[in-house]
């Protein structure tokens, strides 16, 4: 079964454990600036929003890459960067409508979320379950359950 990252900003406290976990997983160092997931703080609105690649089925980044460096991992469905192929042209960073592919000046390659081969470090590190790794076909289940709980069984359509 394919799985997806499911992000619930309402639960996020802005602690950045996810960013550290992601940077360690990918770079073997604690370095939030190298994290594939970023947490945004909207201070005056009291909101924290974690944001990363949603692994589009028809991925713009993958289609834009002139050298085929971005490929689908058939197991996880992740669009993965192949560093040995990537030439660092950054076309994918322009193509992605969400900004979730970014250039890494230290390596001369791009970086994006690859779902950690099906074992996402960010989700494991998150203390509030703001990031979970759920059935890709049922990312709406939590919200459905929430609304279901609010629905009065005695209520009828008429």
């Amino acid at each position: 079964m394919q799985r997806s990252l499911n992000i619930d900003p309402g639960k996020c406290t802005g602690c950045r454990q996810c960013e550290m976990a992601c940077s360690y997983e990918n770079e073997k160092v604690f370095n939030p600036s190298k994290s594939r997931i970023r947490v945004f703080t909207f201070d005056a609105e009291a909101r924290f929003v974690p944001y990363t690649c949603t692994q589009c089925a028809e991925a713009w980044c993958m289609r834009a890459c002139p050298v085929d460096a971005i490929r689908i991992n058939l197991g996880t469905g992740a669009k993965e960067i192949h560093n040995d192929v990537c030439v660092g042209c950054k076309v994918c960073t322009i193509a992605c409508p969400f900004g979730t592919v970014n250039y890494n000046a230290d390596t001369g390659k791009v970086m994006k979320c690859d779902l950690c081969e099906g074992d996402p470090a960010c989700a494991k590190a998150c203390p509030t379950a703001a990031i979970t790794y759920v059935d890709a076909n049922w990312t709406g289940l939590d919200k459905m359950r929430m609304w279901a709980a609010k629905t009065d069984s005695a209520m009828t359509a008429n």
Binding site: A21, V29, F30, S33, T41, A46
Partner: protein, 615 residues
């Protein structure tokens, strides 16, 4: 590893910056942050120096766990000789600045001298520059952060700065980072202002390395599970913040009220955590918007609050309508119970101003309350206050004085003196409620005896964060002791002081100690750092740091005479609550404490003690 291995030395007089290797031998003996910074300060300045002279130095120090996945590992400390106290000052802050500094590859910044005109320090990884700050001088912390990010086209810069309070010499000015996190006490921001240093702006992308990742991951995971499973760190703090204490301490009869004249506040329920979470009738919103975390913290005690837009304090001031750092227990107490004000929105506004202009809400609130007492006994009148009716309970007076003091204007300039100088100026030094010039925090030591000894012996002046015996005496952590008893408190205070120094020096938040002991911390430090970091070594380092701070103070001219409490707490009995009829029995605890410490009856560490600690 754990340490970055580098110090950035900035000389403001000469306008130079340079990189130096960290003294790794000292790192083994003082760990980092509080301990290591104090060692550097002790070696580099004459403790008798005037805190506001160019010869004083100002250190920004991270710990070995800062910037790692250890829970709460994002903290830094500002160390200097305190402007408020003339004693060692060491103020700890969370937020995101500490991690950024460590990620830029620095364990510490040492600031020396004084700039001829206002400057800020811009650090981008291993490059550091001093830049003019004339256009930032005279502006708030909030404006400074925004302006620096805009100027460098980089929203990811993290900034620690002073507001107008620090520029104007308010004695208890703080260094504020990330808009509302502060190295709050003892006037560390005042020292920064005296150096003409407006801000330190950092962007760090180098990463933090540790010794043994597998062991580190195991240790941090286990320690995080301890925090999550603990009632205080797993439930109380995330839900209520430190404000969880308001009703508890009030019921214990240990809530200083109206400059410590009373010991319980009738309005406590109106300014408590529960009140913050209640929906307001005016706009249907609660004061508390949500909780937020400092970098790396799995507790997330931070309060993010919004003020009622129709409240008199913010009407027509849209800049205060957004959410920002809300009331922690200390601020709610100092601005509220201690001034007799029970208007939650007014307190939140005064707290916003403290963040915006960079001043310590504890010392500010306590100085206002001392001024209110001076006013009520007729020692000052509206002539001195510039027309302000300075009565206990007046939200209008509190709000007005927050605005004036933040900018060092009018009677606010006198409130900015702190309560020791203010009460002395008007002939009533006995009304200064503090130790070594620093105002008390939110626990009355008549109702919690151990806190009297804590305050009297705290190296940075009255403070709850040096040995929080409230944990034992009220909350029963790690075990319950009787708050009204003095027996055993000397040992309790010493044990808390030594362990706390070790926690602080690791780069983590002391709130973890509601759940963690050094048994939880040592394995994390050991996996991150070279050296054999056992619980025993951590404790020894903690005790060494405590004695080093003491040596600094003795060399600065403080003596055992300064290890005391105001007459009010030693002579005037508590009027209500469980402690009715009690004063603080400091005299019963202090000699035993000196003996346990291995100090002479005059409070001087003996030669054997110094030799044992290799000092």
């Amino acid at each position: 590893m754990g340490w970055a291995g580098k110090i950035l030395r900035v000389n403001l007089t000469a306008g130079t910056v340079k990189s130096e290797p960290l003294n790794m031998e000292w790192a083994q003996r003082y760990l980092g942050s509080r301990g290591l910074g104090t060692k550097y300060l002790m070696e580099e300045i004459d403790p008798r120096v005037d805190p506001l002279s160019p010869d004083n130095k100002l250190l920004f120090a991270t710990g070995p766990l800062t910037g790692t996945m250890a829970s709460t590992g994002g903290r830094y400390t500002v160390i200097t000789k305190g402007a408020l106290t003339g004693a060692i000052a060491c103020s700890n802050s969370g937020g995101f600045f500490g991690n950024e500094l460590k990620n830029a590859g620095w364990d510490m910044i040492i600031v020396e001298g004084r700039a001829a005109s206002p400057v800020y320090l811009h650090v981008e990884n291993q490059t550091a520059r001093l830049l003019p700050a004339d256009d930032l001088w005279g502006t708030s912390v909030w404006h400074t952060e925004e302006a620096i990010k805009a100027k460098h086209h980089d929203p990811q810069i993290r900034i620690a700065s002073i507001g107008v309070a620090g520029e104007k010499g308010v004695k208890y000015a703080c260094v504020v980072n990330d808009l509302h996190r502060a190295a709050g006490r003892s006037g560390v921001g005042t020292v920064m202002g005296s150096k003409n240093l407006k801000a330190i702006a950092v962007r760090g992308t180098l990463g933090v390395r540790i010794k043994d990742f597998d062991a580190f991951f195991r240790a941090t995971e286990a320690a995080k599970a301890v925090l999550a499973g603990n009632a205080v760190t797993g439930q109380g703090l995330p839900a209520y913040g430190t404000q969880v204490l308001m009703n508890v301490i009030n019921e214990s009869g240990a809530m200083p009220t109206r400059n410590h004249r009373d010991i319980q506040f009738e309005g406590a329920h109106k300014i408590s955590a529960e009140a913050m979470a209640e929906k307001r009738p005016t706009d249907g919103k609660a004061n508390l918007a949500r909780n937020g975390a400092c970098f790396g913290c799995t507790i997330a005690c931070g309060r993010i609050s919004q003020i009622d837009r129709t409240h008199f304090s913010v009407k027509d001031k849209p800049q205060y309508w957004g959410a920002s750092g809300g009331l922690e227990y200390e601020a709610a107490w100092a601005l509220g119970s201690n001034t007799g004000v029970d208007d939650l929105e007014a307190l939140t506004y005064a707290n916003f101003i403290c963040n915006e202009q960079g001043m310590d809400p504890i010392s500010f609130g306590a100085t206002v309350s001392a001024a209110m007492e001076l006013f009520e006994i007729g020692a000052i009148t509206t002539r001195e206050t510039g027309g302000i009716e300075l009565r206990f309970g007046s939200a209008e007076a509190l709000v007005k004085l927050a605005e004036l003091t933040g900018k060092g204007e009018g009677f606010g300039a006198e409130i900015g003196l702190g309560s020791r100088l203010l009460t002395a100026k008007y002939g009533h030094p006995d009304l200064h409620m503090g130790v070594k010039g620093q105002e008390f925090p939110a626990y009355d030591s008549r109702g919690i005896q151990g806190m009297g000894l804590t305050y009297a012996t705290s190296n940075r002046g009255a403070c709850h964060l040096r040995s929080y015996t409230v944990a034992s005496e009220i909350l029963g952590i790690p075990e319950k002791t009787d708050p009204l008893a003095t027996d055993g408190k000397a040992g309790l205070v010493k044990a808390f002081q030594d362990a706390t120094a070790a926690f602080d020096s690791a780069g983590i938040c002391i709130f973890t100690s509601f759940a963690w002991t050094l048994q939880d911390v040592a394995p994390q430090v050991d996996a991150a750092c070279e050296g054999d970091w056992t619980v025993e070594k951590m404790l020894e380092v903690g005790e060494r740091i405590w004695n080093l701070e003491r040596q600094f103070n003795l060399a600065a001219g403080l003596t055992a005479k300064d290890d005391t409490l105001p007459k009010r707490l030693l002579k005037e009995a508590a009027k209500t609550g469980p402690a009715t009829g009690r004063v603080n029995d400091l005299g019963k605890m202090l000699p035993e404490y000196y003996a346990l410490r291995g100090w002479s009856p005059d409070g001087v560490p003996s030669n054997e003690t110094l030799a044992r600690l290799a000092l």
